[in-house]
């Protein structure tokens, strides 16, 4: 257990050392702030104390940022040879995968923390639906969890970070939008299958303020599947150099 934290801590530090973290946080806050408060369907335009706009912007920007964060996690270690260094220390394959997962997840958490100011500001200017906002954050975290796991899996599959990142993005886009579009075009059983597969369906149901076990099972099972596959690939050491 401790190993996971040590690995995550080191990884998180390297995000900050390499400026990746600062750039990510700056862009994320810039984008979300701009659209939430200044431009388009912002809070003042809507005239409601709601953070729906923010959640939509975050929903899209995290989707794009996460593959860029995870693309190097295993592929980079493999290329630099440090994977061998780590795995010959008392670290199991699971601990390594979970450590990598946790580091990116924490970074997303850190990027989301300053946006709590939006919430407090909103609280000051109007009646806020607290549970909707809290669940909105929960939805973002669950969604990040899924995309980080997909990103880790592609990083295990491809040694080239760009390929890993693009693959993660294209797998992600199915969950993000394509299944949703398909669901709208099919009726009956096929339609409901696509609707169930679509991440946006589950995300929206959570941000609407309803936490259904079905949604939680959806997020956790995709993450588990991806993390487990990553672990199996790592254990087989059939990584492409």
């Amino acid at each position: 257990m401790k190993q996971i934290f040590h690995i995550a801590y080191r990884e998180l530090n390297s995000f900050f050392d390499s400026l990746t973290a600062y750039v990510l946080i700056a862009i994320f806050l810039g984008f979300s702030g701009f659209f939430t408060w200044i431009y388009g369907a912002d809070v003042f335009f809507l005239g409601q104390a709601s953070l729906d706009t923010f959640f939509t912007v975050a929903y899209w920007s995290l989707f794009i940022f996460i593959p860029a964060l995870t693309m190097r996690s295993i592929a980079g270690e493999l290329k630099a040879g440090t994977l061998e260094l780590l795995l010959t220390k008392p670290v199991s394959d699971w601990q390594l995968i979970l450590g990598k997962f946790l580091s990116t997840f924490l970074l997303i958490g850190i990027a989301l923390t300053p946006t709590l100011f939006y919430y407090f500001t909103l609280w000051g200017i109007g009646p806020v639906d607290h549970s909707a906002i809290i669940l909105g954050y929960l939805g973002l975290l669950l969604m990040s969890m899924v995309y980080i796991s997909i990103g880790l899996l592609t990083s295990c599959l491809f040694s080239n970070p760009i390929v890993a990142s693009l693959t993660a993005l294209s797998i992600g886009i199915f969950f993000h939008i394509i299944f949703d579009v398909l669901a709208a075009n099919f009726v009956g059983f096929t339609g409901s299958v696509f609707s169930f597969l679509s991440l946006s369906t589950h995300f929206e149901s959570i941000t609407r303020g309803v936490v259904d076990t079905k949604d939680l099972i959806y997020f956790f099972s995709i993450s588990f599947f991806c993390l487990y596959s990553s672990k199996m690939i790592l254990s087989s050491r059939n990584l492409q150099v």
């Binding site: 401790k2 190993q3 040590h6 690995i7 080191r10 530090n13 390297s14 050392d17 390499s18 630099a80 040879g81 440090t82 061998e84 260094l85 780590l86 795995l87 010959t88 220390k89 008392p90 670290v91 199991s92 050491r237």
Partner: protein, 309 residues
């Protein structure tokens, strides 16, 4: 802790990198692992340090199998991989601290261990630098420091001196020798002099198989064959001396090395020595010996002889 390698086989596709290799390293021994590039040294070392799974066979370290108890073995092994991978974006102290934590060294002991490592590996002047800013020699020392920080009983070093300058090579060798007094060390190299200088025992591996297992002395003896002497005789006509030498019973062949300086290469018959006969010859004919050097076969030649087919 003993290391027992039993019938280890590892394939990469159709090619066998290691083919049914078995050997044993006793606790406290310094074993040199020699072989040309691509012989299977690195693969064997990776298997011992639990990085790759062998296709067949097993490795037992202190009685624990790499398949069943890798976590116990990993705790007792310090491994310096080939090419010495390090986190380039960390500074030395942070990096060593990370490794120490991963090894589960108690928190209060970590600063002490790091300082020990910095001292032992001669990193005092550089300790706050980023690893990417260090020269190759210093990076190699950091590699050694990370392998040693948890005071392992077994040290596995994969080509620890590649890419270093001669001074650094000597320093690293000294360091390995010092460490080797207390620990079991397996060291791979394709440089013979290095292995001879540091190791108790030599294992030569070629095309995935062990071809020689023994000390440097045994290795020499095994390949030595007939006695060869470099001989200089003065005080007589060079052709007479040549004739006389050829007439000696124990001598197989005589060659000129340098006619002007009257130097010969004398090869004795199998399991015979000609030194006394040569001396007697000189006394009888009033010659005098200007040089008499037994020519040893160099380890390099033995190595080439063993691995070139």
């Amino acid at each position: 802790m003993d290391i027992v390698v039993e019938h280890l086989t590892k394939r990469y596709g159709p090619q066998k990198a290691v083919d049914n290799v078995s050997f044993r390293v006793k606790a406290g021994e310094v074993l040199g692992f020699l072989g040309p590039n691509g012989a299977g040294k690195t693969t064997t070392m990776k298997a011992i340090s639990c990085y790759i799974n062998p296709d067949e066979g097993d490795v037992k370290v202190g009685g624990y199998s790499i398949k069943e108890h890798p976590e116990i073995i990993k705790k007792n092994i310090g491994y310096l991989p080939e090419n010495n991978p390090l986190y380039q974006d960390m500074n030395i102290i942070d990096f060593l601290e990370f490794i120490a934590k991963i090894h589960g060294i108690p928190k209060y002991l970590i600063p002490e261990r790091i300082l020990d490592m910095v001292r032992i590996c001669g990193l005092e002047g550089e300790k706050h630098k980023l690893i990417s800013e260090l020269s190759k020699g210093y990076q190699q020392r950091v590699g050694l420091a990370q392998a040693l920080i948890h005071d392992p009983e077994i040290l596995i070093l994969d080509e620890p001196t590649t890419g270093l300058d001669p001074n650094q090579i000597v320093e690293i060798r000294e360091l390995i020798k010092r460490i080797g007094k207390e620990k079991t060390v397996i060291l791979s190299s394709h440089i013979l002099a290095e292995v001879e200088a540091t190791c108790d025992r030599i294992l030569i591996i070629n095309n995935g198989r062990i071809v020689v297992d023994g000390t440097a002395e045994e290795l020499r003896k095994q390949a030595a064959g007939n006695e060869i002497l470099k001989l200089g005789i003065q005080g007589g006509d060079v052709n007479d001396i040549f004739e006389n030498l050829l007439n000696l019973d124990t001598i197989d062949s005589v060659d000129f090395i340098d006619i002007d300086k009257q130097l010969f290469e004398v090869q004795s018959l199998k399991e015979e020595t000609s030194v006394k006969a040569i001396f007697d010859l000189c006394v009888q004919n009033n010659y005098y010996i200007s040089e008499l050097t037994p020519t040893e076969k160099k380890l390099e030649d033995i190595f080439r002889q063993l691995t070139l087919h």
